[in-house]
């Protein structure tokens, strides 16, 4: 096959163009081999120990929040997992505890005191001060009215049966002790909380 000068130049130019495209990285030859692994998302998150809010087993959880608690940073919970140092669960959780982040973010979660007044058909938001005053007042009223110091036989019983107290499962031993002391000191018998278990 006879190659003319013109043909030789054409082939050479095409070869040069092709290799230039390769050198510019279009073929992927220059692509980095390393694939970036997703960075560990808890690297500088604030870790807080707490108890799972669900059942009475009260597994230890680690709550991770973004923000380092500096003045202008607003903390936000980004992840919850089991606490390996907690003797109850040693890092494990049940499906509910494992999904506790959804509980925190749920639009239905109660975030402030609500009251449904007598005759009303809806709950209204009230302040903590109002709620505390109202509860204290009603409790005092009820206790003054229904407290039983002595039974029919004249034996001192100091009991108060018309009110119940519902504590929480996610409290520490110390908080459970305080709950128990407070409630029993008033003579209240209807107590349900972690300290019972």
């Amino acid at each position: 096959m006879a190659v003319t000068r013109r043909q030789f130049m054409k082939v050479s130019a095409a070869g040069l163009a092709a290799s230039s495209v390769g050198a510019l990285g279009f073929t992927g030859a220059g692509e980095a081999l390393a694939a970036g692994v997703r960075p560990f998302k808890l690297e500088r998150a604030t870790e807080t120990r707490n108890a799972c809010p669900y059942c009475a087993v009260a597994c230890g959880v680690l709550i991770y929040t973004m923000g380092d608690r500096s003045k202008n940073a607003r903390s936000e919970i980004i992840h919850i997992e089991g606490d390996p140092d907690h003797p109850v669960n040693r890092g494990t959780l049940c499906p509910r505890g494992a999904a506790a982040l959804d509980f925190v973010r749920s639009p239905n979660r109660l975030k402030y005191p609500m009251v449904r007044k007598p005759g009303s058909d809806k709950f209204e938001r009230i302040s903590w001060d109002v709620a505390m005053d109202r509860v204290a007042k009603l409790v005092k009223e009820d206790r003054d009215k229904n407290f039983i110091a002595k039974n029919r036989d004249g034996v001192t019983v100091n009991r108060w049966l018309t009110t119940g107290f519902f504590g929480t499962s996610s409290q520490s031993n110390e908080a459970g002790y305080l709950t128990y002391k407070l409630v029993r000191a008033t003579g209240l018998l209807g107590l349900e909380d972690q300290a019972r278990i």
Partner: protein
């Protein structure tokens, strides 16, 4: 030095260039799923969604406990419940399904996108989504039918064995959360030893056929099962008895790919050489005139 200091890459999809090879002494990691201890609580599923920031759409119940009913682009692990009647006994076989992290990954071999699937030196097989072209070859290449293509972004997704946790020295989210220690995580060596203890225990309880599922057809896996009926893995919601990469993958990538590339290159070179030696096909004035006359003749 690659950017990943602790987890260098052993293999990379559709790449002819070899990754750096000196750092090969990384500990082989493995997850051991003890099917006999699993209570099917799905804490692993919840933890997986939570850690990976996934949100599966609310599904439906199809009359079984499987929820969701299959792996999806947002559900990288799913419990599969099987009711097995052995004589008078009813056995509830609950298998946590998900990526097996094969030592010889079929997905990686089938993948045509450079760097979309990588295998790290510790054995984890991971999808690098930005390189994924959503072709779905990994689904065909997987002997366990695990990867799923998202309808949202047309990319493939599956379990990463929480590579972001493992690379900083933590156990995968599912392994950490499991309340019955049905999921264990550690070096592959340790997991095999642990499995032996479990198998001895199961045998003492009458499960003579119990054993470890670490199929050699895919070079062993980095997610292994302890099965009470290791002689028939297919009992466990269709776990393959002898998984192998489809021979089509080897044929396509090993034989057809170089041949096709050669054919394309030959066609290109031939066309170019033909063009510069013979030039373009030109119509002479005489031909044009004849064609005109013929057209007019027909028209009249």
């Amino acid at each position: 030095m690659a950017t990943m200091q602790s987890l260098d890459i052993r293999r990379r999809s559709a790449s002819t260039e070899a990754p750096p090879q000196v750092r090969q002494s990384a500990i082989q990691v493995a997850k051991l799923i003890d099917v006999s201890k699993c209570i099917g609580c799905k804490a692993c599923q919840a933890a997986c969604l939570e850690w990976n920031d996934l949100k599966a759409p609310i599904g439906y119940t199809d009359g079984t406990y499987d929820n969701p009913t299959d792996l999806t682009p947002t559900s990288w692990t799913v419990m599969r419940f099987t009711e097995y009647e052995r004589g008078d006994d009813l056995e509830w076989l609950i298998r946590k399904d998900g990526c097996m992290h094969c030592d010889d990954p079929g997905c990686l071999k089938a993948c045509p996108a450079p760097g979309a699937i990588v295998q790290y030196t510790n054995g984890i097989v991971d999808f690098v989504s930005e390189n994924c072209i959503g072709c779905g070859y990994c689904v065909k290449g997987c002997p366990f039918n695990v990867p799923r293509i998202s309808k949202v972004d047309r990319k493939a997704y599956k379990c990463t064995l929480c590579v972001d946790r493992v690379s900083v020295g933590q156990a995968p989210a599912c392994a950490k959360v499991c309340p019955t220690q049905a999921i264990y995580f550690g070096s592959k060596e340790d997991m095999i030893v642990h499995a032996e203890h479990r198998i001895a225990d199961l045998k003492s309880r009458g499960f003579q056929k119990s054993g470890l599922y670490n199929p050699p057809g895919v070079g062993g896996t980095h997610v292994m099962y302890v099965l009470h009926h290791a002689d028939q893995p297919s009992l466990y919601a269709g776990l393959p008895d002898d998984p192998r990469i489809s021979p089509m993958v080897g044929f396509w990538k090993g034989v057809m790919k170089p041949l096709s590339l050669a054919a394309i290159a030959f066609a290109g070179v031939f066309g170019f050489l033909h063009y510069i030696t013979k030039g373009p096909n030109e119509v002479s004035d005489t031909d044009e005139r004849k064609a005109d006359e013929m057209a007019k003749g027909k028209g009249a």
